[in-house]
C-alpha cells in the first residue's frame, strides 16, 4: 500500500462508515425534490419539445447531488480532522502534497459518483431510462465531482471553524448549484439573468450533463466541457499551490 492509496482508502472508509448520512440522506433529499417539483410542474412545464419535466429535472438533480456531495466529502473530512487535531496523523507521514491532493480528490469523486448513481437509480421509477450520450455523461460527472472535490479541499484547508465552512457552503456552493438550471432552463430567464447564468461554471456542468440524458441543451456541450476543464485546471492549480505552501496546515 502506498501512502496515497492508504489515504485514499481511509477517506473512502470514512464516508462509507457513515453511509446513511453521506449517501442515503442525499439520495432521499433528491427524491423529495423530484416528488414535489414533478408533482407541481409536470403538467405545466415542457422545457424542451417532447421531454417531460420529470425527465428534464432528473439529470439536474443527479448533477446537483454529485456536486454537493463531492464538495462535502473533502471539505468536511478536512475541517473535522483539523478541529479534532487528527490531521497530524496525515501530516507526520512522508506523504507529498500531490498524494494528499489526489487522495482527498479521489474519495470526493467516488462519493459524488456513488450519490449520483443512487439518485439516478431511485428516479428510474419516475422517469424512463434515456441515455443517448454515455460519453458525455461520464465526462461531465467526473469533471463536476473533481471540480467540487478540489474546491472542497480549498474550503477545508481555509476554514478554521465549522461556521466558516458552512458559510462557504451556504453562500457559494448552494447558490451556484441552485441558480444553474437544475430546476429550469435558463432560456426561461430574462436576458440579464441568462447572462449571469453563463458566468456560473456550474450551469455548464448541469447543462452538459443534461444533454447526455435528453439530447437537448442550452449551450454547446463542447463549450461546457471546455469551461469545466478550465475550471478544474484552475482550481486544482490553486489547491496544489496551497498544499505545497503548507497554507494553514504546516505553520
Amino acid at each position: 500500500m502506498s501512502g496515497l492509496s492508504a489515504l485514499f482508502y481511509k477517506e473512502m472508509l470514512r464516508f462509507w462508515k457513515v453511509a446513511v448520512q453521506t449517501v442515503v440522506a442525499p439520495v432521499v433529499t433528491a427524491l423529495l425534490y423530484l416528488l414535489i417539483f414533478s408533482h407541481v410542474l409536470e403538467a405545466h412545464v415542457e422545457v424542451y419539445p417532447g421531454v417531460s419535466y420529470t425527465s428534464f429535472l432528473v439529470p439536474g438533480l443527479v448533477m446537483m447531488s454529485m456536486l454537493q456531495n463531492a464538495f462535502s466529502n473533502s471539505s468536511s473530512s478536512l475541517i473535522q480532522s483539523k478541529m479534532q487535531g487528527n490531521i497530524v496523523f496525515v501530516l507526520l507521514p512522508p506523504l507529498s502534497y500531490l498524494e494528499f491532493f489526489l487522495a482527498y480528490l479521489g474519495a470526493a469523486v467516488i462519493r459524488g459518483l456513488v450519490v449520483g448513481f443512487g439518485v439516478w437509480a431511485v428516479t428510474l421509477w419516475f422517469a424512463p431510462l434515456q441515455l443517448p450520450h454515455l460519453g458525455w455523461l461520464l465526462a461531465y460527472a467526473l469533471l463536476a465531482c473533481a471540480i467540487m472535490g478540489a474546491l472542497g479541499i480549498v474550503a477545508g484547508i481555509w476554514a478554521e471553524k465549522y461556521d466558516q465552512l458552512a458559510a462557504f457552503q451556504n453562500f457559494l456552493i448552494l447558490p451556484l448549484t441552485f441558480l444553474s438550471g437544475v430546476f429550469y432552463s435558463i432560456h426561461s430567464l430574462p436576458p440579464f439573468w441568462q447572462g449571469v447564468s453563463h458566468a456560473n461554471p456550474v450551469f455548464y456542468l448541469i447543462d452538459g450533463f443534461r444533454y447526455a440524458f435528453v439530447g437537448h441543451s442550452d449551450t454547446d456541450p463542447w463549450l461546457g466541457l471546455l469551461v469545466a476543464g478550465a475550471c478544474f485546471v484552475a482550481i486544482s492549480a490553486l489547491t496544489l499551490a496551497l498544499l505545497r505552501s503548507g497554507y494553514k496546515l504546516r505553520h
Binding site: 500500500m1 501512502g3 501530516l91 512522508p94 505553520h251
Partner: protein, 299 residues
C-alpha cells in the same frame, strides 16, 4: 556517523513571540535525551520543526542526517512522533487506525508488528473498539502505537505522561526504555522532572527559545550541591550559634541547607554538646527539580 538529531541556530517567530531564538543541539544515536523547559519555552515548536509540522524561519534541522525540509520523506520515515494533544480519529477502531497509519508509510503487511505493539501497550483487548470509546489512557497508548508503526529509529515523545495514571506511566516507560536499549534514540519532553532524571542520559533545558543548559544528567545534578536535612529535636531551643542557619518549620522540625557534609557533622556535634537529642532526621539530596529551578532563576 551523523547525529540522530542535529539542530543548528534554529529560529522561529510567531507574531511577536520568538518561539525559538537560535537553538543548536546534537543528539547522538541511541541516546535517551530530555528536553525540559517551562511552558512556552519552545519545546513543542522545536519538535514540530523536526516533524515538519512547522517551518523554521532560519537555521537547519536534520534527522539521521536528512534535512527536515529537503529530504522530508526520509526524515519522516526516521521519526516517530507522539503528539502532546490527545487526538484520535473517531471513525476507526484501534486496528484500523494502526493499519491506516502503516499504510501512510507505505507498509503493506504490517500486522505482525501491529500485533506486537498492541500487545506491549496492552491495546490488544481493545483492537476492535472504536477509538472514541477508549479511555484517556488507552487513547494515549494508541498515539504511542501510531508513532511506532513504521519502526522509526528516532522516537519523539512530547509530554507523553501528562494526565496519565501510574500504571500506564510504568508500562509506557518500560516499553520505551526497552526500545532505547534496542538502539532507538528517544527525545522526551516532560514536566515530570523525576521521570527525566530517571530516564534521560542527557538533558537540555530551554527557556524563552534558547538552550540555557545542556549536559549529561549526572553533570547537571552536580551543578547544585545544596543538600537539605530536616531534624526533630527533643528540645525547643537550639544553640545560639546555629539560630541563623536553622529554619524552624511549622510542624516543629528544623531545616538546614548545606553544601558540605562537614557542616552537618558540626551541627550534630554541637547539638550533642548542648545535650539536645535528635529524635528524627531526613536527608534530601539535590534532584533535577532543584537544578531546573536554579537554572531557570539564574538565566
Amino acid at each position: 556517523m551523523s547525529p540522530a538529531i542535529h539542530v543548528s541556530d534554529l529560529r522561529k517567530r510567531f507574531g511577536v513571540t520568538q518561539a525559538l531564538d537560535g537553538v543548536s543541539l546534537d543528539i547522538q544515536p541511541g541516546e535517551f535525551f530530555g528536553l525540559l523547559g517551562p511552558n512556552g519555552a519552545g519545546k513543542t515548536t522545536l519538535i514540530s520543526i523536526l516533524a515538519g509540522l512547522t517551518r523554521a524561519d532560519s537555521g537547519h534541522a536534520a534527522v539521521m542526517g536528512h534535512d527536515v525540509v529537503r529530504d522530508y520523506r526520509q526524515t519522516r520515515r526516521a521519526l516517530g512522533v507522539v503528539p502532546q494533544e490527545l487526538v484520535y480519529d473517531p471513525f476507526f477502531n484501534v486496528r484500523e487506525t494502526l493499519r491506516i497509519q502503516s499504510g501512510y508509510f507505505g507498509l503493506k503487511h504490517n500486522d505482525g508488528w501491529i500485533d506486537e505493539i498492541m500487545h506491549h501497550l496492552d491495546l490488544a483487548p481493545h483492537a476492535d473498539k472504536n477509538t472514541q470509546s477508549l479511555s484517556g489512557g488507552m487513547k494515549r497508548r494508541l498515539l504511542v502505537a501510531q508513532a511506532l508503526v513504521h519502526k522509526p529509529p528516532v522516537i519523539v515523545l512530547d509530554e507523553p505522561t501528562a494526565g496519565v495514571d501510574v500504571d500506564l506511566r510504568r508500562s509506557l516507560w518500560k516499553f520505551i526504555s526497552g526500545l532505547n536499549r534496542e538502539g532507538h534514540t528517544i527525545l522526551l519532553t516532560t514536566h515530570y522532572l523525576e521521570e527525566a532524571e530517571a530516564l534521560c542520559s542527557r538533558i537540555a533545558m530551554l527557556k524563552s527559545g534558547r538552550v540555557v543548559a545542556c549536559d549529561t544528567t549526572r553533570n547537571l545534578l552536580q551543578l547544585t550541591n545544596e543538600h537539605c536535612a530536616q531534624l526533630r529535636l527533643d528540645a525547643d531551643a537550639i544553640p545560639s550559634a546555629w539560630q541563623a542557619r536553622l529554619q524552624h518549620d511549622a510542624d516543629g522540625s528544623w531545616r538546614i541547607n548545606f553544601s558540605e557534609y562537614a557542616d552537618l557533622e558540626t551541627l550534630l556535634a554541637d547539638l550533642r554538646g548542648a545535650s539536645i537529642r535528635v529524635t528524627e532526621m531526613q536527608l534530601h539530596e539535590p534532584d533535577l527539580e532543584d537544578v531546573f529551578t536554579d537554572i531557570m532563576k539564574r538565566t
